[in-house]
């Protein structure tokens, strides 16, 4: 349904490389996640797909249409939600929705069923100006507007950034619902926990794809043992773990540190090392890695 072939793009006369040789195939009805931190190139890729930017190299197709040559047809058929809130702040919820329906030559009533699961949540406030909405409501409105012309394909650029946890969950529930209705969705997010909710994901860093697979496939593809390290004075502890020669990498992860060890290195030796360094009561446990661990692991050291 969506095919991205060898796309590269740089800015400022080639001094900043935003994307390097990106290849992605998204099947019909798939929920595909672009996972990566800020500056990974997610927005650039979305803009190329949305026909708003021209790639330096490579080509992309959406529904068999070329994003450069057939840009007019693509603009008619996709639903796009930019990373930055792009609706009119001085127009009300209803006015924004109605405007976007009219621009696509349709009406809100005609497509009410499609947008109902999301729109019904903000409908009680439909006369409120978009500028006065909370982050979660803004995103629901933006999604409603992206859906109001019944697109087959949704491009959602960081739809849950700046949104509270409850609204984030609601938003993902809606995305699952839409996938169930047969829409093809590409969504980007900097939140690793959301990666699990996608059918397939691509891990993106500095314009390059680190890995591309199903979430489970990515996790099972990395069998290196992972240990959580927990103890007093967490910041000094992080430095100490990194100092140990047997540590491959260690990073802060919520209330513990996650460490990959070099082949042959034993967690008991790490504990002894930390004891020598004066850290008491340090707990080192083997744990199952998650996407974020693997992402950190894949980053060039």
């Amino acid at each position: 349904m969506i095919s991205i072939q060898n796309i590269s793009k740089s800015f400022n006369k080639d001094s900043v490389t935003a994307l390097r040789n990106i290849n992605i195939e998204v099947e019909r009805g798939e929920l595909f996640g672009l996972i990566g931190p800020d500056g990974a190139g997610k927005t650039t890729l979305f803009r190329i797909l949305a026909t708003l930017l021209l790639a330096d190299e490579g080509r992309a197709e959406i529904g068999g249409r070329d994003v450069v040559r057939d840009y007019k047809a693509i603009r008619r058929t996709i639903g796009y939600m930019p990373g930055r809130f792009a609706l009119y702040q001085d127009l009300s919820i209803w006015e924004n929705l109605q405007f976007y329906a009219s621009v696509f030559g349709t009406t809100v009533a005609e497509n009410y069923e499609r947008i109902k699961p999301i729109y019904s949540q903000i409908e009680p406030f439909k006369d409120r100006r978009a500028g006065q909405l909370s982050g979660g409501m803004k995103q629901k409105l933006a999604l409603s507007c992206a859906l109001v012309h019944k697109p087959d394909i949704l491009l959602l650029d960081e739809p849950t950034t700046g949104v509270d946890p409850v609204s984030r969950k609601e938003f993902w529930d809606i995305l699952q619902l839409l996938r169930g209705q047969g829409l093809t969705i590409i969504v980007s997010t900097p939140y690793m926990d959301e990666a699990r909710l996608c059918d397939r994901i691509a891990l993106l860093q500095k314009g390059q794809i680190l890995e591309q697979n199903t979430p489970d496939g990515i996790v099972s593809g990395h069998s290196e043992p992972l240990f959580s390290v927990r103890g007093p004075n967490m910041f000094a502890l992080l430095q100490a773990v990194r100092l140990w020669p047997g540590t491959y990498s260690c990073f802060a992860f919520g209330d513990s540190h996650h460490a990959y060890l070099r082949p042959g290195a034993k967690p008991a030796d790490l504990k002894d090392f930390l004891h020598q360094k004066g850290f008491e009561n340090v707990a080192v446990e083997a744990i199952q890695p998650d996407i974020e661990d693997i992402f950190m692991h894949l980053l060039p050291a």
Binding site: A86, Y88, F99, C145
Partner: protein, 368 residues
């Protein structure tokens, strides 16, 4: 067409919701009219003058009275010798001295010729010549009355006369000029920020991914502002008529139609600026600084175009304000009909069309 209407409705919402800007847009022309209309005036009122009457007869007394009675002068000093005049000028007490020669009345009635001398302080050149001109016209009008009464024969009287604005009042010259300036600056500013604002706020990113064509987005922007512009035209004309006392000689319908065309032209110019720039600041700068100077210099209301070097005269042909200024003067002041201004009208219509086409053409269909 449905898409166009949707855009139109949206643009009206934008304009109406932005109350603060709307107040500024309506208020600014009023302020500018008052400011320019009164402050930028070369009219001289109640100038203090001194009289040196060497004759002291009926006619000189009558003339002195008339000068004093006119709203341009008040006679504040009566002096006895020309040396006193020098002193008054140095002290800045008077702007002009009127000297009646000896035997003024007798010379006039018997020899049919007499002389009056007007000495004006030309340190400020414009004021000096204006004062002298006023004084001369007061005396000349008295002379004309005398002629009619007494039917003096065989008198060839050569007189240079200003038509349309015999008093050289400033309103007939300045008000059209100010109107031109206000309209071009205001209207081009309105649209100059309109499209670039959507680029800056990010709304452009979404609206581009739709079936809407560039001309729809561009033209729909201009229409609400056409109404705002016409509202301003109404306000300005009302003020010109009531506060500044400008005559309305020509057809009001023709005048409004020409104003409408000029507003459209300015809006198109603004749209072109807007599609070519990437920030509201740049757009504002271009529309203010870039348009102010040529409009001021080349429209002919501050500096006569005829006196300019040939290259500048040629440049003036592409400055739209030149045509509108000439139309305004013809219609408002001279009361001429369409048959006298059709050429200028045609040029303005052509310019509007070209600018609008260029604006639509330079609309970027992608982000970068």
């Amino acid at each position: 067409m449905k898409i166009f209407l949707a855009f139109l409705q949206k643009e009206f919402w934008h304009v109406i919701r932005d109350r603060r800007s709307l107040v500024v847009l309506i208020g600014m022309p009023i302020l500018m009219m008052l400011l320019y209309g009164f402050a930028l005036s070369n009219e001289v009122k109640n100038s203090r003058i001194a009289i040196l009457d060497l004759s002291k007869d009926d006619i000189t007394r009558e003339l002195t009275q008339r000068l004093d009675a006119s709203r341009y002068f008040s006679v504040t000093e009566y002096i006895q010798s020309p040396t006193q005049a020098d002193q008054l000028f140095r002290q800045g007490k008077v702007r002009a001295v009127v000297i009646f020669q000896e035997n003024f009345q007798r010379n006039l009635l018997q020899a049919n010729a007499t002389a009056v001398q007007i000495i004006a302080d030309a340190a400020d050149t414009n004021t000096g010549s204006t004062v002298a001109f006023y004084a001369a016209s007061v005396i000349r009008s008295y002379q004309n009355e005398l002629q009619e009464l007494q039917k003096l024969p065989y008198r060839i009287h050569v007189e240079s006369q200003m038509v349309y604005n015999p008093q050289q009042e400033s309103a007939p010259n300045f008000v059209p000029g100010v109107m031109v300036l206000i309209l071009i600056l205001l209207c081009s500013m309105l649209t100059a920020v309109a499209i670039v604002r959507e680029k800056e706020s990010g709304t452009m990113e979404l609206i581009l991914v739709s079936p809407a064509r560039p001309w729809v987005m561009v033209v729909a922007k201009a229409i609400p502002f056409l109404l705002v512009g016409m509202l301003n035209v109404g306000v300005i004309l009302m003020m010109a008529y009531t506060v500044l006392g400008l005559p309305m000689r020509g057809s009001l319908v023709l005048l409004l139609a020409e104003c409408g065309l000029f507003v459209l032209l300015a809006l198109s110019l603004g749209l072109l600026i807007s599609t070519r720039t990437d920030s509201q600041q740049t757009a504002l700068f271009i529309s203010l600084v870039g348009l102010m100077l040529p409009s001021l210099v080349f429209s002919g209301f501050m500096f006569p175009l005829e006196n300019m070097p040939k290259p500048l005269q040629i440049i003036s042909n592409i400055v739209p304000t030149k045509y509108f200024f000439s139309i305004l003067k013809s219609v408002m002041i001279k009361g001429l009909g369409f048959s006298y201004v059709w050429k200028e009208t045609l040029v303005m219509a052509g310019m509007t069309l070209v600018l609008l086409t260029l604006a639509v053409r330079s609309f970027k269909i992608r982000l970068a």
